[in-house]
Symmetry: C2
Subunit: 338 residues, 2 copies
C-alpha cells in the first residue's frame, strides 16, 4: 500500500487561524477490509465552513477533532477496491479529507459517489456541481424564491457559491448583482459569469457608502439576497432591501475569527417585513439530485463557467486555506494533490 | 353638532418623544353628509407603532401628518347616522383617532365595524379582540407555527399583544414563557395569564445575564419567539434559540427614539438555522376573521383575561402614550374619552 501524506489539526486558533494550527504527517495506508475501497485524491476542496469547525464552539457541526485529518470534500480515482460497487479507475467524489489517499467503506450511505467526467471536469464536482453549487441552489430556490424580473444580490460573488448563484438567478430571468473584492473579481463577475452588475466592496469604507453604490446597481431595490460574509456588507444590502425581501444566510465569514459582527439595523427586518433564514445545505439532501442536475447542465452547456484557484500539492493546503479566508482566492479554492 | 376636542401632532420628536409634540384643540363637528355617521368615542387605543409614525422616516406606513389629528384605533357608539348600515346606539370599532368624535364614511371598506358587547367588553375590541390580539395570532400561527410541547417566548408579555400570545400558545399545548419588566408584571403574567414562567428583564444588566435566566425558564430551549422590543432582550433570547427556531418580529420599541439597536449575534441565525420574519398585521386582513373568532371565544370564556391601563379624558392621552413607551402601563393602554 502507498504511503499517505496527511494534514492534521494540531491545535485550535486563538483569533485568526494560522499555518501553525496544522501539522503535515506521513502515515501508512491500511490494507483494505471487505467492502472498502482505496481512493487516490486528485483535488481537495477548501471551504469557508472549515474555519468555523476549527473552533471548539457549539455550532451546527461537531468541531474538527484535534490530532485528526482535516475533514473536507475530495474528488479522486479508485485505485483498489474490495467492494462490488466500485472498480479501479472510477472517478469518485467523497469526504476524504486533507490527505493523498483515503480508505472508504463503500456501503456507508453518501460516503462515495461515482461521477461522470464526460461533460463536467472532475474538479467541478467540488464546486459548481457539488456542495457549493447546491448551496447556491437551495438558498435561491427554496429560501429566496425569486420571481422573474426581481433583483437578486450575492456577496462573495466570484466564489464557488456566488458564481453559481448568479447563473441560477439569470436562468430564472432575474437581475443578478454581485458584491466582490477588487476590480479583477468584479470584471470576472460581470464579463465571465454574466452578472448584470458587480459592486467592489473594497472601494467603500462603511455600510452607508457601499449602500449608495448598491442603489445605483439595483435601481429597483433588492428583492433577494444571498449572504456569504456578514458584517458591513450585510448591513449595506439590508439598507436597500425592498418590502417583503428575502435573505438566505449561508455564511458569515466576517465573524469566523471570533470578532463581533453585529447587525447594525435589525429594525429593517420589521419595517421592510423581511425574512432572514439561515441554512446548512447538508440538512437538505432531498434537493441534491434536482440541484445537481440543473448545475451539471449549466456547466456542461457552458452557461456556468466556474473559475478555480488551484494550489499545488498537499503541503500547500494550509496557506491556500488561510488565503481564501482573506479573499485571496479567485473562484473555487482547490488543492491539487496528485 | 357637539364641540369636538382633538389632539394633533404639532411637531416631530428629536430623540425621545415628549408632551410638547402634541397640541390639544377644539373644533366644530361638521354636519353629516349622506352615507356618513357620527361616532362618539368611548376609548382610544394607544399603541407602540404610533411612536414610529411620529418620525418622518421611510417605514411601512406613511408618517403621521403634522397638524392633523393623531391617527389610531377607537371604539364608541353611533350617535347620529345618515347611513342605512348603522343606527344610533350601535357599538362600533374604527380608526377615529385621538379625538372625542369622528365623522366616518360608513361605506369605506373597513372604516367602521359593528361589534357585539354581550360577552366581550367594548374596550377589548382595541386589545385582545382587536389589532393587538390579531397581531399575536398572526405571529404565532403563521410565522412561529408552534407544535405541541414546544417552548414559546414573548417579550412585553403583560401587554396587549404579549398576553394574547401566551394564551394562544397555551391553547396549542405549548410552554409559554414571558419576559416583562418588574415583579408585579411577572406575577400577573404567570398567575393571571397562565404563562408557565416569566423572566423580569429589569433584574439583568446585560444579554448574558438575561440569557442565563431564560435557560432556567426554558429547560428545553426556545422553539419560537415573538419579539416586541428588540435590543438586549432579543440578543438574550437568540442565545437560547433551538435549531430551526422561528422568530416573529413585530416591534422593536427599544429603537423607536432613534437609538441604534444592533443585533449582537446575527451569526446565530446561521448556526442555529433560524428564521426571522418581520410582519405588519394590517397587511394580512385575510386572517382577521379567523383570529378574531378564536380571540373572542378565549375572552368570552374567561380563558384570556386581558388587563387594561385606562387614562381618563382625552387630555391625558399624550402622557399616557409617553408612559407606555417607557413600560409604565400595565396591560393594554387605553384612554377613556366619554
Amino acid at each position: 500500500m502507498p504511503k499517505n501524506k496527511q494534514i492534521l489539526l494540531d491545535n485550535r486558533p486563538e483569533g485568526e487561524a494560522s499555518a501553525s494550527n496544522f501539522k503535515l504527517v506521513e502515515a501508512e495506508t491500511p490494507a483494505l477490509k471487505e467492502g472498502e475501497v482505496l481512493v487516490r485524491h486528485h483535488f481537495l476542496s477548501l471551504d469557508p465552513y472549515m474555519r468555523g469547525r476549527m473552533n471548539d464552539a457549539k455550532s451546527y457541526a461537531a468541531p474538527q477533532p484535534l490530532g485528526q485529518v482535516m475533514q473536507g470534500g475530495t474528488v479522486g480515482e479508485v485505485v483498489e477496491s474490495r467492494s462490488p460497487k466500485f472498480a479501479p479507475g472510477d472517478k469518485v467524489v467523497g469526504m476524504g479529507g486533507w490527505q493523498e489517499y483515503s480508505v472508504v467503506a463503500a456501503d456507508q450511505p453518501g460516503a462515495l459517489r461515482k461521477v461522470d467526467t464526460t461533460h463536467v471536469p472532475l474538479s467541478h464536482y467540488l464546486g459548481a456541481v457539488g456542495m457549493p453549487g447546491v448551496t447556491a441552489w437551495y438558498g435561491l430556490v427554496k429560501i429566496i424564491q425569486p420571481k422573474q424580473g426581481q433583483t437578486i444580490v450575492v456577496s462573495a460573488a466570484s466564489g464557488a457559491v456566488g458564481s453559481a448563484l448568479g447563473t441560477l438567478a439569470k436562468a430564472r430571468g432575474c437581475r443578478a448583482v454581485g458584491i466582490a473584492g477588487g476590480p479583477d473579481k468584479c470584471r470576472y463577475v460581470t464579463e465571465e459569469l454574466g452578472f448584470d452588475a458587480c459592486v467592489d466592496y473594497k472601494q467603500h469604507a462603511d455600510a452607508s457608502s457601499l449602500s449608495k453604490a448598491l442603489k445605483e446597481a439595483c435601481p429597483e431595490g433588492i428583492h433577494g439576497y444571498f449572504e456569504n460574509v456578514g458584517g458591513m456588507v450585510m448591513d449595506a444590502v439590508m439598507l436597500r432591501m425592498n418590502a417583503f425581501g428575502r435573505i438566505a444566510l449561508c455564511g458569515m465569514i466576517a465573524g469566523y475569527d471570533g470578532k463581533p459582527i453585529p447587525m447594525a439595523y435589525p429594525q429593517l427586518i420589521l419595517t421592510n417585513r423581511l425574512t432572514v433564514e439561515g441554512f446548512i445545505v447538508s440538512e437538505h439532501m432531498d434537493v441534491w439530485p434536482q440541484a445537481l442536475q440543473e448545475l451539471g447542465t449549466l456547466v456542461g452547456s457552458g452557461k456556468l463557467r466556474p473559475r478555480e484557484s488551484v494550489a499545488q500539492g498537499l503541503a500547500a493546503a494550509p496557506e491556500a486555506f488561510l488565503g481564501m479566508l482573506k479573499g485571496r482566492n479567485f473562484g473555487k479554492q482547490l488543492v491539487k494533490v496528485s
